[in-house]
């Protein structure tokens, strides 16, 4: 039930700059996700919000109240630590009850709430175990329960589900979302699971090397990435360098060196990202948008290619197609059984629909 505002935050450890000039405003009750490669400063940012690090520069405000140097215990945030940080001398129950005890909740009330949350994270029969006797995933769930049970103003979750199986993760996700919606808890979530980030988040911030690259809703981030880093980092994509050639009606024509061909792209905001005159340009097309067919295809941007690899990933099948000596494109299709898989070496036609392509600049480092 707080807004969180990070203004121009920088954090340095000695010479290392972990976070640089970060500006983010997280709205009340929002489910906000930090996405980014390992070591890009997500944990560091969370820790500054929780109050374990003081920013080297910049300000942290909650609801317009300056919190930059307020000690952590006065911030009413609930955090799931990346390394769990469970109290080894307490049982599962005691670990989870800790925050409630501190808040002077009555014994019976505490017991009820702890049992409740433990049931939700499927650990009710482990209540009296020492935490060292739990498996990795069980420990992670204790950490999660401990943060959730206090129903904080701000929930900070640092990869809280990384050690859980898909099924359990799904349940936990729903639990988190339910809590977050019911109590309107502002939630900041760090995850490496993109599907998770995309399904759960109200908005996402994509980080790279201590800097924020893009902030937006999941569909914005996925469908309208601002640069190649974001496009490549979120979801699979095919990136091929291109150069602007000309504009024609409501289409733009780009030339692609690698394919030695022109590419037509719809001239809408969705298909063309903002870029500067001297930026290097790339076209990005998601594998699932690539159409392949053994028979010939009609329309714009159709190329011939050869299947070089078919990969099975459960629900879907990836097909890698070589379009030219240095351009390989990947297409994803739903798995309809082994009989439908293409075989290596077969010749196919590939279509890159003009309304599915996005032109983006290369990210500046």
């Amino acid at each position: 039930m707080s807004t969180v505002n990070l203004s121009a935050i920088t954090k340095q450890f000695g010479d290392v700059t972990a976070v640089e000039e970060l500006d983010i405003l997280i709205k009340e009750g929002e489910f906000f996700t930090f996405l980014g490669p390992s070591g890009c400063g997500k944990t560091t940012t969370l820790r500054m919000i929780a109050g374990f690090y003081y920013p080297t520069k910049g300000k942290v405000t909650f609801n317009d109240k300056d919190m930059t140097t307020v000690p952590p215990e006065k911030r009413n945030t609930g955090m799931v630590f990346q390394n769990y940080a469970l109290f080894p001398h307490m049982t599962v129950f005691e670990n989870v009850a800790f925050g409630l005890k501190v808040r002077k909740i009555t014994k019976s009330q505490t017991k009820k709430r702890v049992e409740d949350i433990l049931k939700k994270v499927r650990l009710d029969q482990y209540m009296d175990r020492q935490v060292s006797q739990l498996s990795g995933g069980q420990q992670q769930r204790v950490a999660l329960a401990r943060a959730l049970v206090i129903e904080p103003d701000i929930l900070l979750l640092d990869e809280p589900l990384s050690n859980l199986d898909a099924r359990l993760r799904d349940e936990m996700r729903n639990e988190i979302l339910r809590l977050q919606r019911d109590y309107g808890i502002t939630t900041i979530y760090v995850t490496h699971d993109q599907a998770e980030a995309l399904t759960m988040s109200d908005r996402i911030a994509v980080f790279n090397m201590g800097k924020c690259q893009q902030v937006g809703t999941p569909t914005e981030i996925y469908n309208q990435p601002v640069n190649d880093f974001v496009a490549e980092f979120i979801g699979e994509t095919n990136l091929i360098p291109i150069a602007f050639k000309k504009e024609k009606n409501n289409e733009k024509i780009y030339h692609c060196e690698q394919l030695d061909a022109d590419i037509q792209v719809q001239a809408t905001e969705v298909n063309i990202a903002e870029y500067n005159r001297n930026d290097q340009l790339l076209m990005s097309i998601r594998p699932e948008s690539v159409q392949i067919d053994k028979a010939s295809l009609t329309g714009e941007n159709v190329f011939k290619g050869e299947v070089i690899l078919v990969q099975f990933t459960g629900a879907s099948v990836h097909t890698y197609i070589k379009l030219s000596s240095d351009a390989i494109i990947r297409a994803t299709d739903l798995n309809e059984g082994p009989s439908t898989y293409l075989t290596n070496g077969s010749k196919v036609n590939v279509k890159l629909p003009a309304d599915q392509i996005r032109v983006i600049p290369k990210a500046r480092m």
Binding site: G51, Y53, T69, N83, A85, F87, F98
Partner: protein, 561 residues
């Protein structure tokens, strides 16, 4: 069939058990046997005496000993833990310096130390009289003596056990645990009580054991500060002086039984919970403090603590600088000179005792270092039957009064035995290093155990998995991680060995006369000035050793985390 794990455990245990049996159990058995003898024949009379005829005095003594010891533990903890916490958790100017000062009390030679206390805080002492004069009071406002005196001296001299074990245990606590507690809304106080403090349990248990047992066996303080006050250690001494060796043995056995019960109780207490910090990965480090007010509070506190802690040393220095006759009836010393030092240095052999003490302490510490590490490792990380028994054996040299340990060694080694390789050890150079070794086994074992208890097992497993043999793992992984604990234990042992008196006096020979004996002799000749000068030399020496070990080993221990 023995599996590899069991074989390894056995291999580890064999030397440990041999040493313990040879140098601890075998000598102590003499005392036990003695306690069951009356005029040379077996009887339970001593015990029936203890609990019967003389029970009033004995029980009074026992009770006094126990409650003084418990209070000493409490007081030492109250001083040692906060100091350790402040010096290890907050970064403020001079932190390193203050934290070194904090262990200075153990440097004070025990007898001279207590006397310095009396010169400071006794009825005729400097501080009460200075206050009286400044405020124009008719009476001194306070003076120490009696039980309060004993407790104050105990707290002062024993809190370093808490300070050192707490410091090394604190450095091993994963900071993210405390952060988690803050995050859940606890204030500093709560975090300390509910998280930090319980996690320190292994260290605190170690320190409590050490302090409890030292106070049980403590001699100088009750003797000097409350001559008539009955405690068990004094009863033993008087029984011995009165020529009733059997009763002395009986009282020693009772004292050990109490100490060992305390040990078992603490073990039970500690074993109820788990203190191995097995969080995933390695947490980030020292939390930051940027409150200037707090910072300066800390500095002030540091300076104040330093003054109080160093006052006895200063008194010792003053005493050593006062020429004979210049501070007898006078409230304040009337003259200063280097006379005492000059007198001392006129003796061409002045450095002999110094060298002896250093060499013997070093030898003993080397032994204790190696033995302590192996033993605590076996105690903490290996499973075997009879662990409690081993633990008791380890603690016996600490639970028994020092004189009794000395007597035991005499009885055991004034005839050839397998453990002395067929030689008579009494009367040779080697008996004293051996005595120091035996005396200080518990110190190193306890402080090492405390740190080992906190170590996550999987680190060791990772090394083994990478193909490291047990010994390599031990050397390259386990030891560096537990080094702070081991070093603090060994350092304490060294410092105490240099000043060790009660066993030294029974065992020293012409060739290995240590410093403490020299100080005692000066005292016996009423040369308090020269005794203090010698004391100052000892203090200086130990300070140098501590400085060196900090410079060369301390730097490394900082890196361990």
């Amino acid at each position: 069939m023995l599996n590899a794990e069991k074989r390894k455990t056995l291999l580890l245990l064999i030397p440990v058990i041999l040493v313990l049996i040879g140098y601890v159990l075998y000598p102590s058995i003499e005392t036990l046997l003695e306690s069951f003898k009356k005029n040379g024949v077996f009887s339970l009379e001593n015990y029936s005496d203890f609990f019967g005829e003389k029970s009033a005095a004995n029980f009074e003594a026992l009770w006094n000993s126990v409650y003084i010891s418990l209070l000493s533990v409490l007081l030492s903890a109250l001083i040692g833990i906060p100091l350790a916490y402040i010096f290890n958790r907050y970064d403020f100017p001079g932190r390193q310096f203050f934290s070194n000062i904090a262990i200075m009390p153990i440097v004070l030679p025990s007898l001279v130390g207590v006397m310095a206390f009396m010169y400071l805080y006794g009825e005729a002492g400097l501080v009460p009289n200075a206050i009286k004069d400044v405020l124009n009071l008719s009476e001194v406002p306070f003076s120490i003596g009696g039980i309060t005196g004993i407790l104050i001296v105990h707290a002062y001299t024993m809190y370093p056990y808490f300070y050192m074990t707490t410091s090394s245990a604190l450095n091993n606590i994963d900071p993210s645990l405390e952060e988690a507690a803050y995050n859940l809304g606890s204030n500093k106080f709560k975090v300390f009580w509910k998280v930090t403090f319980p996690l320190l349990t292994p260290g605190l248990v170690a320190a409590s054991l050490l302090v409890f047992m030292v106070s049980m066996a403590s001699f100088s303080a009750p003797f000097l500060l409350a001559g008539g006050f009955r405690v068990l250690s004094l009863q033993i001494y008087f029984s011995k002086i009165n020529g009733d060796l059997e009763m002395a043995a009986t009282q020693s056995v009772i004292l050990s039984v109490v100490s060992i019960s305390f040990l078992l109780f603490m073990r039970w207490y500690q074993d109820r919970k788990d203190y191995r910090m097995a969080s995933k990965g390695i947490g980030a480090h020292r939390s930051e403090v940027s409150n200037p007010v707090l910072k300066w509070c800390m500095v002030t506190l540091g300076i104040l603590a330093m003054i109080v802690l160093l006052l006895p040393h200063a008194t010792l220095l003053i005493l050593s600088l006062v020429p004979e006759g210049a501070w007898t009836w006078q409230t304040y010393p009337t003259a200063f000179s280097l006379e005492n030092f000059i007198l001392l240095f006129e003796d061409p052999n002045i450095w002999d005792p110094v060298r002896n003490s250093m060499v013997m302490s070093l030898l003993a510490c080397l032994g204790v270092f190696v033995f302590g590490i192996i033993t605590s490792y076996a105690l903490v990380k290996r499973k075997f039957i009879g662990k409690n028994l081993l633990d008791i054996l380890v603690m016996i040299p600490w639970a028994l009064p020092a004189t009794v340990v000395g007597m035991n060694l005499i009885l055991a080694f004034n005839e050839p035995s397998a453990f002395s390789f067929g030689k008579i050890l009494v009367g040779t150079f080697w008996i004293l290093p051996l005595a120091y070794f035996v005396r200080f086994i518990p110190l190193v074992v306890r402080s090492t155990t405390a740190v080992l208890e906190q170590m996550d097992d999987s680190i060791e497993e990772a090394a083994q998995n990478l193909g490291a043999k047990w010994f390599y793992t031990f050397r390259r992984v386990v030891i560096p991680i537990i080094m702070p604990g081991v070093l603090s234990g060994t350092l304490l042992a060294f410092v105490q060995a240099v000043g060790e008196f009660p066993t030294s006096v029974l065992l020293y020979t012409l060739d290995n006369r240590p410093i403490s004996i020299e100080i005692m002799n000066q005292l016996r000749m009423f040369n308090i000035g020269q005794a203090s000068a010698y004391g100052m030399i000892q203090v200086g020496l130990i300070a140098i050793v501590m400085f060196i070990s900090y410079k060369f080993l301390g730097v490394k221990t900082e890196n361990t985390l």
